[in-house]
């Protein structure tokens, strides 16, 4: 009994000790290097010392944070490959000598400050504050509500960040380095595509609530209006058992085109059951809607017959130098378009860092200035150079092209390009003055 009590006391003591360690002393937030040595001004999260575990011991180091949904949130299945691709991307940059700033070079470290947000805005903000003082910018901030929770901090501290979400709202934020088109324009293009290819006369958007689904539904509505089509929007919840309402709407209203913005299992329920009930129209989904494993599911035949897949860039197996470099850098992995997204999202950050380094100003202010004067980004062919326009007003700068893919069992992620980057008439003519949802 006495021994037991001692152990309990020891446990308590340990708890208090941990608590004390956590309460570090109040110090200055700026842990960046002095910046006196070279001509390059160094800010928070940039050091003269080399990154940990890098072969380039002579280079300095730029630290970028990653906040992603790595374990228990709804997007973990996509977020883990995104994060892996980004690590591979920056490793490749470092192997090629890093970011050049005059006679100096900097490696980029995206592995030291990786945090899990569990797709919860509060957690996102907490982990952001934990790494805020250590990084120059964020190589990834996953999710719209989560990023919205820190957007004011980002703006206040000039923290340039690459998002992992495609909502149209990011076009209106300077600190956010979005890549490719957003769901809004993607859906407009999907509707235009269906009008051209199948002569669609009615459109239904089956979508999740929130930025993801509503942005897409907003775009579909714009295009339907522009093309003079019938439009209905059906909001649906998460979980395959909750799709009965959506399926009923699809089957009873028989639209020519259904824009689906849900997760893969819910899409399987909607597409599979609608087809089983005799629905013959087309479905067009977005990247998060698709998962190659659906081709092994009972809904596979329905997907092969009815499903098309839009995306901001070509799928994993596409044939561009950027895709090629990505596949090579990743090596032997299970193909997923999470990798493609993570890779593509990293190019503008690289371009911005290079521009800032060239200006000799690797501080947060310097990086933000570099971003706001960035008019082209080299995506190595994944996207055209003018997709990386961050200087002009949203209506001019927004990138309106998207890719349409069709189901192809032999392709690595189950889809291959049907029509490469294109802009439909609706997207072309849309006046983009505010987010679509």
């Amino acid at each position: 009994m006495a021994k037991w009590q001692h152990r309990r006391t020891a446990f308590t003591a340990a708890l208090f000790a941990v608590a004390l360690v956590a309460t570090a002393c109040r110090g200055g937030g700026d842990t960046g290097g002095g910046g006196g040595e070279g001509e390059v001004a160094l800010g928070t999260g940039v050091t003269q010392e080399a990154c940990p575990d890098t072969p380039n011991q002579d280079n300095g180091c730029i630290y970028l944070g990653i906040i992603s949904d790595l374990t228990s949130g709804p997007f973990a299945a996509l977020a883990v490959p995104i994060t892996d691709a980004q690590k591979a991307f920056w490793e490749r940059v470092n192997e090629n000598g890093g970011i050049q700033a005059g006679d100096q070079a900097f490696d980029v470290d995206v592995t030291s400050y990786v945090k899990d947000n569990k797709y919860n805005p509060e957690v996102h903000r907490q982990v952001y504050q934990e790494i805020e003082g250590e990084v120059l910018g964020l190589a990834q901030t996953l999710g719209s509500p989560t990023t919205a929770a820190i957007i004011n901090d980002l703006k206040q501290n000039n923290v340039v960040s690459a998002p992992a979400s495609w909502t149209s709202a990011w076009e209106f934020e300077d600190v956010i380095l979005e890549s490719g088109t957003n769901y809004c324009f993607e859906s407009m293009n999907s509707v235009d595509y269906a009008v051209e290819e199948f002569g669609a006369e009615s459109v239904m958007a089956v979508h999740y609530p929130g930025d993801y689904g509503e942005d897409a539904a907003g775009g579909a509505e714009v295009a339907a209006e522009a093309q003079g089509l019938d439009f209905t929007a059906i909001e649906t919840g998460q979980g395959p058992e909750n799709q009965a309402g959506a399926i009923k709407a699809v089957v009873s209203q028989k639209p020519d085109l259904v824009i689906v913005t849900t997760g893969p299992t819910d899409a399987a329920a909607i597409v599979g059951e609608s087809a089983a009930k005799g629905f013959e129209g087309k479905f067009i989904g977005t990247s998060p809607t698709w998962n190659p494993a659906l081709l092994k599911s009972p809904a596979a035949d329905a997907f092969k017959a009815l499903y098309l897949q839009s995306g901001p860039w070509g799928p994993f197996g596409a044939d561009t130098p950027g895709h090629e470099a990505m596949r090579e850098a990743l090596g032997d992995v299970e193909p997923s378009d999470g990798y493609t997204a993570g890779w593509a999202w990293s190019y503008p950050m690289k371009a911005a860092l290079e521009a800032a380094a060239e200006n000799g100003d690797l501080t947060r202010e310097g990086l933000l200035e570099a971003v706001t004067s960035l008019t082209t980004v080299d995506y190595e062919g994944m996207l055209p150079e003018d997709a990386g326009n961050y200087a002009d007003e949203p209506n001019e700068a927004v990138f309106r092209q998207s890719v349409m893919s069709e189901v192809d069992e032999d392709a690595p992620t189950g889809v291959s390009v049907a029509r490469d980057l294109y802009t439909g008439p609706s997207a072309e003519g849309y006046e983009f003055t505010e987010p679509c949802f």
Binding site: Q5, R8, T23, T71
Partner: protein, 385 residues
Amino acid sequence: MSAPTATPPQRPAGRKPRQLSGRPGLYTSYAQHLRLLNTRPKLVAVGAILLLAFAMPWLAQDRTLSLLALACAASIGAIGLNIVTGYAGQVSLGHAFFLAIGAYTAAVLSGDTDGRTIGFGVTNVVIWLLAAGLVAGLFGVLVAPLATRLRGLYLAIVTLGLVFIGEHVFKEWRDLTGGAGVGRPGPVPELFGVNLASSGDVFTSDQKLYLLMLVCLVVFGVLARNLARSKVGRAFAAIRDRDIAASVIGVNLTRYKVVAFAVSSFYAGVAGALVYTITGFIEPTSFNLLLSVQYIAMVLIGGVATISGSIMGAFFITLLPALTRESPTILPFISSDASAPLNVFQVETVLYGLLIIGFLIFEPRGLFGIWTRIRNYWKAWPFSY
């Protein structure tokens, strides 16, 4: 609210309780026993803790302060849950719903009048904080009739239904909440013309918010402590221990259950408003089962029917994720690669679950129980075994 009107226990006039030298823990009168700080060591300890707490803004880093502020705000919510669950014995899994009511009331009152979501631009902290509490308290009163019919796990799961239905309403009512996955800005805290959420020349926003939360916690903590030792508190305890027996000795069950729910919801509303002031952003799906359960865990881990236990529990649960996030530095051999089979992020989450399990198996009376054991050990030292 009934908290401030708590009648002090009878105290014989003019007689000061004596302190015996060398026996600091000895009560010499009933009045002393019931007093807020009834022994000298308690007085000294509470004073020291308060001193340290108010010195924190100059000692700790901003991100630590932000976490501590969150813990303070959560403490108020935990105290609220402890009033209904710990003191009055009515287990509620609906706390997330009341937190949401408070958060949205505050956000609507203080919100931007021209924003995407409803807002009235009343940014004074005192006004929206009280309004948040009162509106939530009102909902508590509406829910209370259920509690007079149900007990135990039935009540728990029915209040859980409240969370699900509330979540549905919050997701659908776009003008209020912005909708799922979009959300709206949190309450804007302004006091005497100073916006507490933006950094000024003297204080950073984290310092100001921390101080606000600390002051609120002290105020609401003392009020709750007073309630607990009043007639109302004793009625709660009687209901908890055996409701029929309580009604036999003249405790009006319906009335006190309604009071318990109202006070508890008031606290939850205040806590919701404060927590989301710190977070700065409200997303309607946050108010789910997990949030309710976190508060239940705070109460259980802290200690049932104790105010200091609620605070300890809230600090534990709020700081735990921050501590488990430090696990990579303690366990460097675990891969930090998110695609590895057992990586630090999984360990973090698993550790969170395991610590809760371990803690409750180890000490079901909670942190307060541990504290009691330490105190008793040293009380009888060196003859303690």
